[in-house]
């Protein structure tokens, strides 16, 4: 039995094809459980689901194996969505394949019953609006308050990334012409509208004849140019003149190369036939209905060329993100100015603007004065600009006082603070807030403003130092932008240190700026003394290593020197951030580590 199980915080696709090559299968049965929009007479906009993922996957597999002993099952696909799921959207998808329909129906019914008893997934809370944040826990429909106040402000790196992902649902898709779609995320899977090629085509200049025609002499009955479409059935002894790429007049033909024939008027004598039929068969490359580019794909040049090929000239894609970035602090002067003692030039603005180039977006930048009242009035002047932004970034100073300034400002703007500290070095005082977008803040329990549906805005307060900016952008802001576009955030990959790391133990995880390069197996092995396996980029999440026969090289990571979160010299060379565990006193040369590729590696596509 083939089993596929997924837990995802992304929307479940609207269509899945049955698994191919099912053999003795007569039934492919699908079920979707959707979030009800009303419960006991109350409107529900969304439900938040939570799972114990490591165990949920195992339980689903165990259930399927157990039930299939009684109701034969050849294949099963189970996808459970977690996080916030809007009403009407699919929470669970199940597809099962059985030899007969009765078996599939009983299998599915029993599976769903037992899933609801045994698989560790919970409906957490019903949300009357789509605002979500740890600070809005009391928005559950049940009036019962949690027994203890839940204060989450200090998050681990993984928790912070998960919190961001669950609060950055994809923005509504827009249609964009292909010329404006580069780098955007495709939002609906594009399937082949017809076979490719749509008809049998000649691969040679020559003469098409019936494949079963053993004649030596033929009459040439027609000529087909590359752009012609002249369907006709060929009879034995008939040939048609064709060019490379010509649509053949019917199926079941072969093409004899023009070099292998002698022609005399309408008569043709075939001197030689190759083994190849010289025909590119209909559907040889792609079958009608086959997915070509999946939803969630960041469109690159090749994907756009495919869309053009199948005539999808205005695909549904992520909108251009609208991003508003403020610097703060009176010590900042522009790069063309000479700073007075105590002042510094603003490097964060160009840093942020440049990093954002990896995402199709429109960036506006401004500056807020250090005085809180003055900052508030500046913000009030820019009210519509702020409300129109999908993402608000505020570069603050690194000190506690300045962090408070950013936090208070974001709360003033109606953002609910999800976390304000992350256990990461550099970049601990990172603030993340979510706002539904309405103008009236609800002034109790630290709850943000209530929002009209379908408009979630997010804000980050970034620690002021450039290196902290650089790090926070890659592990946090990029994850938010990926979520809003409906794409996948950059994930940690597996690599090896190209040198030893000596460090004082730090209670936080460190994201260490590094220079990544690909080393082919033998070169890297000889370049270091250790006897360690050489692997391709393993998947850091699953811990899976590539099979031995695919082990062709390894990410070699050179650690760059940095002293403090204000250290800017290493940024120009950094193309990776190496994840050094908390309380780690050092790592050996060749140690396997996780690393996050950074913008320089991601390129524009």
């Amino acid at each position: 039995m083939e089993i596929e199980i997924q837990l995802t915080d992304q929307p479940i696709a609207e269509k899945y094809l049955p698994p191919p090559q099912l053999g003795a299968v007569g039934a492919w049965l699908e079920f979707r459980g959707v979030v009800r929009g009303e419960e006991n007479g109350r409107t529900i906009r969304a439900l938040e689901y939570e799972a114990y993922p490591e165990m949920a996957g195992r339980e689903i597999r165990r259930l399927l194996q157990d039930i299939s002993a009684r109701h034969p099952c050849r294949a099963a696909k189970v996808i459970h969505r977690v996080g916030v799921i809007p009403a009407g959207e699919t929470a669970i998808y199940v597809g099962v394949a059985s030899p007969h329909r009765g078996e599939a129906i009983e299998l599915l019914a029993e599976f769903m019953d037992r899933l609801k008893q045994d698989v560790p997934v919970w409906k957490r809370r019903a949300l009357p609006t789509n605002i979500v944040g740890d600070d809005v826990r009391s928005l559950t429909l049940s009036a019962k308050k949690p027994e203890t106040p839940h204060v989450v402000s200090y998050k681990s790196l993984d928790e912070a990334r998960a919190a961001i992902r669950s609060r950055c649902p994809p923005l509504p898709a827009v249609r964009a012409p292909l010329a404006e779609a580069l780098g955007r995320v495709l939002r609906e899977t594009v399937c082949a509208p017809e076979d490719l090629p749509p008809v049998d085509r000649s691969m040679r200049d020559g003469y098409a004849i019936r494949a079963d025609d053993a004649s030596k002499t033929f009459s040439v009955v027609d000529t087909i140019h590359a752009a012609d479409w002249k369907p006709r059935q060929l009879k034995t002894g008939e040939a048609v003149r064709v060019a490379t790429g010509s649509a053949l007049p019917c199926e079941g033909l072969r093409v004899v190369m023009q070099e292998h024939v002698e022609r005399d008027g309408d008569k043709l004598h075939v001197a030689r036939r190759e083994n190849s039929t010289n025909v590119r068969l209909r559907g040889e490359e792609v079958r009608q209905g086959q997915p070509l580019v999946s939803a969630g794909t960041k469109l690159n040049a090749g994907a756009l060329a495919i869309l053009a090929t199948v005539g999808n000239a205005n695909p549904p894609v992520s909108p251009r993100l609208r991003i508003l970035h403020f610097t703060t602090g009176d010590e900042i002067v522009t790069p063309d100015q000479t700073p007075k003692p105590g002042q510094i030039r603003d490097s964060n603005s160009i840093l942020i603007r440049s990093l954002l180039q990896n995402f199709p977006c429109d960036v506006e930048q401004g500056h807020l004065p250090e005085d809180f009242e003055a900052a508030k009035s500046e913000v009030a002047n820019r009210k519509s600009q702020i409300e129109n932004a999908d993402v608000l970034l505020v570069s603050g100073g690194a000190s506690v006082g300045e962090t408070d300034f950013t936090r208070a400002l974001l709360e003033q703007l109606g953002f609910g603070i999800v976390f304000s500290q992350v256990s990461v070095r550099p970049g601990r005082p990172l603030i993340f807030g979510v706002n539904g977008g309405a103008s009236v803040p609800v002034p109790h329990c630290g709850i943000g403003s209530l929002a009209p549906p379908n408009k979630v805005r997010v804000a980050f307060g970034l620690p002021g130092n450039p290196l902290a900016h650089f790090v926070c952008f890659h592990f946090a802001v990029a994850a938010a932008l990926a979520g809003l576009t409906g794409g996948e955030p950059p994930e940690f990959l597996r690599g090896q240190l190209a040198e030893k790391l000596d460090d004082k133990p730090c209670p936080r995880e460190t994201l260490w700026p590094a220079r990544w390069e690909w080393r082919v197996g033998q070169t890297f092995l000889s370049a270091s003394s250790g006897d360690f396996p050489v692997a391709c980029a393993d998947n850091a999440n699953t811990g899976q290593e590539c099979p031995a026969n695919q082990q062709t090289g390894m990410s070699a990571l050179h650690l760059l020197a940095w002293a403090s979160s204000g250290d800017i010299t290493c940024m120009a060379a950094a193309n990776a951030l190496v994840r050094v565990p908390a309380n780690c006193a050092g790592l050996d040369n060749g140690a396997k580590v996780d690393f996050l590729p950074v913008a320089a590696m991601l390129g524009g596509g």
């Binding site: 939570e50 114990y52 165990m55 609801k116 008893q117 560790p120 997934v121 027994e147």
Partner: protein
């Protein structure tokens, strides 16, 4: 051992997980004693909570050792 809390148990304890340093392996009753001592609010949930050990439901006579991942699972409601 690491003990994970899910769903409403997060609200009851105020955290997602706790590290329990047990001198010797614990049986189910001893584990609950430790947990309720630390989080009195858990006592009310005990009748409805199932225990998991290393990603599988734990039998009533299970023993929880130092390097186990233990999870407290309130009634599930997936699908």
């Amino acid at each position: 051992m690491r003990v994970l809390f899910f769903a409403q148990l997060k609200d009851a304890t105020g955290c997602n997980a706790v590290e329990l340093a047990a001198a010797s392996p614990l049986n189910t009753a001893q584990l609950w004693t430790e947990l309720v001592q630390r989080f009195p609010a858990l006592a009310a949930h005990r009748p409805n909570v199932r225990l998991a050990r290393n990603w599988e439901y734990a039998a009533p006579d299970a023993i929880f050792a130092d390097n186990d991942e233990v999870a407290l699972l309130p009634p599930v409601s997936g699908g």
